[in-house]
Assembly symmetry: C2
Homo-oligomer: 229 residues x 2
């Protein structure tokens, strides 16, 4: 007699709209999900409380937060208090880009995946809305997967790791529609780059703008709590 054991997956969970949707998609595909968040000195600390709420509501088997101090390096508006968060659309790579952030996050997910014996990592990269971020593009993800398969004991001896980026080609409206279909409670999520300690959103940063446009385009009521209404 054989038993069906759910395959394990590490899911990167920021507490924002995208990764909450990715968690729901991974759960729908039958994975046992291990949610991973990072306390990396981000300005929007209420993100982490949101991640804990989303992990619980989204049926994650476990949720861990790794503390990692990237503030000393500066270089991004998200971790360096001297660089302002932009409130108007910009061209090129935005100042909110954190150097090598997805590489660092995926590397730590890889370590946990290897410890768990999980041959899957889910990540919420999106190449449509965030085309300015080099580490959100499909060829970057493919290169990371190729590297990861050479990096680990599992890659050498066992099941090759797969990096799943199910929303990479979706518009924000598509993501909102898919998450709504899967029952994601977006009121639990925080996307704003400079949310207050209670998780209220500024309504004017790039991330708020993309998010509210997504709800509007999807014709789904926006449950975001804004500081200014």
């Amino acid at each position: 007699m054989t038993m069906n054991v759910a395959a394990k997956a590490v899911v990167l969970l920021s507490g924002g709209l995208d990764s909450a949707t990715v968690l729901a998609m991974a759960r729908e595909r039958g994975y046992e999900c291990y949610a991973l968040s990072f306390d990396y000195g981000q300005r929007h600390r209420s993100e982490l409380q949101a991640a804990a709420r989303v992990a619980a509501a989204g049926g994650a088997h476990e949720h861990r937060v790794i503390k990692l101090d990237l503030t000393g390096w500066g270089g991004s508006a998200l971790t360096d208090a001297h660089i302002a968060v932009p409130t108007a659309p910009t061209t090129g790579i935005p100042v909110t880009y954190v150097p090598a952030r997805n590489t660092i996050f995926l590397s730590l997910a890889l370590a946990w995946a290897e410890t768990l014996g999980a041959p899957n990592i889910f990540a919420g990269m999106n190449a449509v809305d965030y085309s300015g971020y080099p580490d959100c593009r499909p060829d970057y993800v493919a290169a990371f997967q190729a590297m990861a398969r050479l990096a680990t004991r599992a890659g050498v001896e066992g099941v090759p790791l797969t990096i799943h980026t199910p929303i990479i080609d979706m518009s924000k409206a598509d993501i909102v529609r898919e998450g709504t279909r899967l029952g994601v409670d977006y009121a639990l999520t925080v996307s704003c780059y400079q949310a207050d300690t209670d998780g209220k959103a500024c309504g004017i940063c790039d991330s708020c703008r993309l998010r509210s446009e997504g709800f509007r385009a999807a014709d789904v009521p926006d449950p975001t709590r804004y500081l200014r209404s």
Copy 2:
């Protein structure tokens, strides 16, 4: 008039024999070196004091230590107190392997390199003595470099990053000879997997064994301070 500005390089520095040699090699090649160490819950904490001494003696422009808690995941004798450090040679991937460690370290080096505008990372991977570690092999390093060039702003807009692993094909004896030629003071370094708080080496773990054999084969006096003599 143009000035010759030394190219910047981030150098991964563990405090052991290998990375001390790599720092000396990078300096000899004319790089301005930014040494990077990790406080990741390793048993052999005196490594970090050794790294600080080696960075200063080796002429590093700056030395940073990133705190990163990997102890919660276990899975390695170096970070999990429940797994004994082996004192006899083993086959296959050793239990001292830390899941995805080099990937995590290189990712954080990549972030600092990008912030500094440094198109070089030096790392002390060695495929000869540590052939059991999947993330010490040349094809892994090449895959990481390919990924890194897609991951970063510099890779997209500027000088492509190069990962230098100058000792990857050298025997421990060759490394000792090269470091000795370059004036590395190996008495400052700690390689032992279970060194005491003062940096004295056990003399019996894999790392101690490889190190002492390296000095013997190189016909260089071994300056290691051992707990048992």
